[in-house]
């Protein structure tokens, strides 16, 4: 049996959720600062608020399966305002739905990530090169969808995609309102998405 079709180790959903909660609590200020340089400055506060709600959802629901853990993440974002709240919320909803087992396989995560990208693009109408989270997510979907794709490979592709946003003048999303002033600044949505994928890879091993 292909390793991509084997369920990840028990506790993956919980480890990933907790890793994101910890990491974004630390990084919210840095991401918020990027948003202040080329956006409306509410991204850091929205992230803090979203993961505060994730913790409340976890406390209330007592999740035991991967789908239940990721549903807590999804609801945390859907209960947060702005446009990043619903976009990340629907992204994590697709990831929560990608597996019915206790833990997902890498192949299932690949399909979930692909569905998440489609949902984000449907709502946000962004393409690669628009300086949004799509610039990190799309290469990760390609990497994870390959027959030998791994979570680490997807995380690296997302990281590279997020770095590429420094050279782009925003055409969509929060930074599109400031135009030329967005050049040289990483897109905080893309950076956050790359973090999500790096933490998935960390949590799988």
């Amino acid at each position: 049996m292909n390793a991509r079709d084997t369920a990840l180790d028990a506790g993956f959903g919980e480890r990933w959720t907790r890793a994101m909660t910890t990491a974004f609590a630390t990084e919210a200020d840095r991401l918020g600062e990027l948003d202040r340089l080329a956006g409306d400055g509410d991204f850091g506060r929205n992230l803090t608020s979203a993961f505060g709600r994730v913790q409340q959802e976890v406390d209330a629901a007592g999740p035991t399966t991967y789908a239940a853990w990721l549903t807590c993440v999804s609801r945390g974002f859907l209960g947060t305002g702005g446009t990043s709240g619903p976009l990340f919320g629907m992204f994590f909803r697709e990831l929560a739905r990608c597996s019915t087992g206790d833990e997902p396989t890498v192949a299932e995560l690949g399909r979930g990530l692909s569905a998440g990208l489609a949902t984000v693009q449907r709502y946000g109408k962004a393409q690669v090169g628009h300086k949004t989270m799509v610039d990190a997510l799309a290469p990760a979907v390609d990497a994870l969808g390959a027959t030998d794709g791994t979570l680490r490979g997807a995380a690296e592709a997302a990281d590279e995609g997020a770095r590429s946003t420094a050279d782009i003048i925003a055409k969509r999303g929060r930074a599109s309102y400031v135009g030329e002033a967005s050049r040289g600044v990483l897109d905080p949505g893309a950076v956050a998405m790359a973090m999500v994928l790096a933490l998935a890879a960390d949590s799988a091993s």
Binding site: R75, L78, G79, T80, G81, G82, T83, G85, P86, L87, G89, M90, Y123, G124, K125
Partner: protein, 337 residues
């Protein structure tokens, strides 16, 4: 220097919603857990009507919950969209088995969160939903191709009151979801609004208005979120300033001589009734001069922008059926006849 009446600015919206429910206990209740305002007695066997948006525009939308208008209103923080989960919970609360109509002012955050709520209601609860997008603000009409998916389009402002009133009346009569959506879209499509301000609004707890105007300046084409307007024009008497709203509205709508309109003369927060009724008189004069009847007036501060000092005028060309629905009984905290 501006001052506002607050305990803690962060608590203002929730405290006001509690107060609304305490003041009108037979009409509305405040669901603090899910973040919405619903009818005190839920309606049965009708399509549910839900609207919502950022706070700071009171009495919109919570003031229009009740018989003949909305079933549930969903307030966000000041000038911020309600969340997708709030709107989803509100949609479930409004469903009486015949589906739910969302009435949404055209702002990116509102549109996306309402859309997510409809997707969740459809997938997780099998609730049928439709949406009416209200985009009446003539100042943001940049002549874009109507089908351009990338264009933000016109903002939604005071015409939302007409959509809520007219769809609300039709819903009480038992209209189905599809025909309500069609009715609402036709009202939204034919209504246009335009506003000016002589002073910007001030966020609760802030000491400065969103923008500064000199004593001889007027912001024309102003939005309801402290956005700057399309241009600055010289200050002048009421009749002149109101003509700066009516003229472009008539130009855009081109109502035929002998036809009739509903006119909403709306205060933006700190415009007082004497000023508003003098503005209504000016609107009447402008329409009469063009041979157009004002069949109904709605004059008051209905869609505000905190304490902005200014006026918006909405014109809605009407026929007998729309007038009949407009005249149907309504019983809400902010509108009753």
């Amino acid at each position: 220097m501006r001052r506002s009446l607050v305990n803690d600015p962060d608590d203002l919206v929730v405290e006001a919603l509690e107060g609304l429910a305490l003041a009108h206990p037979t009409l509305v209740r405040h669901d603090a857990e899910h973040g919405f305002v619903a009818r005190a007695t839920p309606a049965r066997d009708k399509v549910g009507l839900v609207s919502g948006g950022g706070s700071g525009h009171e009495p919109l939308h919570a003031g229009f919950v009740g018989h003949g208008m909305l079933d549930v209103a969903v307030p966000g923080a000041v000038f911020a969209s309600p969340t997708a989960l709030q709107l989803y919970d509100a949609t479930r609360a409004a469903d009486a088995g015949r589906g739910v109509l969302h009435i949404v002012k055209n702002y990116t955050g509102d549109v996306i969160n309402f859309t997510v709520a409809r997707e969740l209601a459809d997938e997780d609860d099998d609730i049928a939903t439709e949406v009416v997008l209200v985009d009446d603000d003539l100042a943001t009409d940049l002549g874009e191709e109507p089908d351009d998916p990338d264009a933000p389009g016109r903002r939604g402002t005071a015409a939302v009151v007409a959509v809520e009133k007219i769809c609300g009346a039709a819903a009480e009569e038992g209209a189905d979801l599809g025909s309500l959506a069609e009715l609402g879209r036709s009202v939204a499509a034919r209504a246009r609004s335009m506003a000016f301000a002589i002073e910007a609004g001030t966020h609760p707890g802030s000491s400065r208005p969103a923008f500064d105007l000199d004593a001889d300046e007027v912001e024309l084409g102003v939005g309801i979120h402290g956005e700057r307007g399309r241009s600055r024009v010289p200050f002048g008497p009421t009749d002149e300033l109101v003509a700066r709203l009516v003229d472009p509205l008539v130009e855009a709508l081109r109502p035929a001589r002998g036809s009739g309109v509903i006119a909403i003369v709306n205060g933006l927060g700190s415009t007082y009734p004497l000023e508003l009724y003098a503005a209504a008189r000016a609107v009447h004069g402008g329409m009469t001069a063009r041979g157009v009847r004002v069949d109904r007036f709605l004059v008051g501060s209905l869609v505000t922008s905190l304490d902005m000092h200014g006026v918006s005028v909405t014109l809605l060309p009407v026929d007998d059926e729309l007038l009949r629905l407009w005249d149907a009984p309504v019983r809400t905290p902010a509108l009753t006849w």
